[in-house]
Symmetry: C2
């Protein structure tokens, strides 16, 4: 059966808000005239975030925006906060600190409601910290612009809207390939997805499509033959052998179940696949 869950729009930070707005346009198209919740909970001082998105989305015809912010966990119990999500066509998690999102709304009615409306078809978007938090396990800290040391990777439980994936953001800009390799070394079951600024993947029905101006680095550890991640010395520099990597850009697609990329040239083929009856797709893709 096709997945009834809503689209996930996972953005690497600094998406264009006043030019072509390629990524925000994709969101606007999917929202129609529906209500968009701007969740600024990742930020300690969210002043101005809501207004910036109000302006950016307003020009794209999305005019019904409400802000969802909680300073402290108990606020998640208030009717006012919970009502913000009622009838939402989409929720957009802004940037800041992914641990603030998980620590403030994790295991609260707000988190449960987000998960529930996503399962029922609501679009969930997130940029920067809001992107990282979408996975089961998320990267919260690790060295940028240097090669990962074994002991220098900090993970935490995320919102779990997407499984078996670790997302990293501001990827090329902050030189984060080392830490993403470290995360994949910890458990190759998770697929590493590093997203550049002003770049996004939109995940619908298990298929990720790339949008925006930068690249998306996919790190597949299924074939890894050696890593030293479990060694005792935390200062040791990471080794990992036989990683499969894909660099995707606008127009590329990636099928999460089969872990196979498709290019702009094979688009027609992928599109044809989506017209195949669900039972047959399952046979083709080995799952659904």
């Amino acid at each position: 059966m096709p997945d009834a869950a809503g689209p996930l729009v996972i953005i690497g930070g600094h998406e264009d808000k006043d030019g072509e707005r390629l990524i925000l346009k994709e969101i606007a198209q999917r929202l129609g005239d529906g209500k968009l919740v701007i969740a600024t909970v990742a930020s300690h001082e969210p002043d101005g975030y809501f207004e910036a998105y109000q302006k950016a989305f307003g020009a794209l015809g999305v005019t019904h925006l409400v802000e969802l912010y909680v300073e402290e966990r108990p606020e998640t119990l208030s009717d006012h906060v919970q009502e913000a999500l009622d009838g939402a066509a989409g929720v957009f998690f802004t940037g800041g600190d992914q641990l603030r999102i998980s620590s403030q709304i994790g295991d609260t009615p707000v988190e449960r409601r987000v998960r529930e409306i996503h399962r029922a078809g609501t679009l969930i978007a997130g940029t920067s910290a809001g992107a990282s938090v979408m996975s089961d396990t998320m990267l919260v800290r690790g060295s940028s612009a240097e090669t990962h040391r074994i002991g220098d990777l900090h993970m935490a439980a995320g919102l779990g809207l997407i499984h078996d994936v670790i997302i990293d953001q501001h990827f090329a800009e902050r030189g984060r390939i080392g830490r993403l390799l470290g995360a994949v070394a910890q458990n190759p079951r998770v697929l590493g997805v590093g997203i550049d600024e002003d770049t996004a993947i939109i995940v619908e029905n298990g298929l990720a499509t790339v949008h925006g101006s930068g690249g998306v680095y996919v790190v597949d550890g299924a074939g890894v033959t050696h890593s030293n991640i479990a060694e005792a010395e935390p200062e040791r520099t990471l080794s990992i052998h036989d990683v499969r990597m894909h660099l995707l850009s606008a127009g590329d697609r990636f099928e999460l179940i089969t872990r196979r990329p498709g290019s702009a040239k094979t688009l027609k083929c992928s599109e044809r696949l989506s017209e195949v009856a669900p039972e047959d797709r399952k046979a083709i893709h080995g799952g659904d």
Copy 2:
């Protein structure tokens, strides 16, 4: 037959000069009390470079150092410059601009002599620009800390001391994975080797060993299934699918002919291989 060429010490820049000096120590061990030529030709203003290495190597017992510098090509014809290389046990190319090295000494008696003494067993080392220049084709410019655009990669002919390899340096520090993927996309015959600061590979008999504090990223494009590198629009972001990548660190080895890594744990096995008779090694490795 085992290769008679001297070792190549290829350093990603900023090697430790006053602490443990792990990389300079490896060079010193191979030089014994031989003469080391510090080639500062990569720099427009080489003042202080020679003195810094004199100090760093002096403390390691390498006391016979001479400087090789040419401001303009005609100087390469002078006896004084050519004599600098006479009887050298090693030549060390310092950092600066790789195009200065190739444009000032390329196709001159100095370049020919460097190649000749290397073939006869002399150690050649290079850091930063001095590392990049060692390959047949070298990377001279390309965006760092952003994903590579198709038109934004500038290559030039290097010194050709090592074949079918492209070297990039200051690798994790400057976020250069995108441009190395671009170089490999241009022609997957070349193996991409990105070396972090204070990190080196030492290539002896076709085997690269890793030294120093950072990582070495090996990008193998042999299995690439798609790239858009030959598309017309230079502003297009690179796509490349199915790259094999290895992240190596101190103690790891990499066999250039077979393109296979080995870890500290498999060292003994590699060492045993080197004890095998040359004819048998050829059979094992498919070439020599």
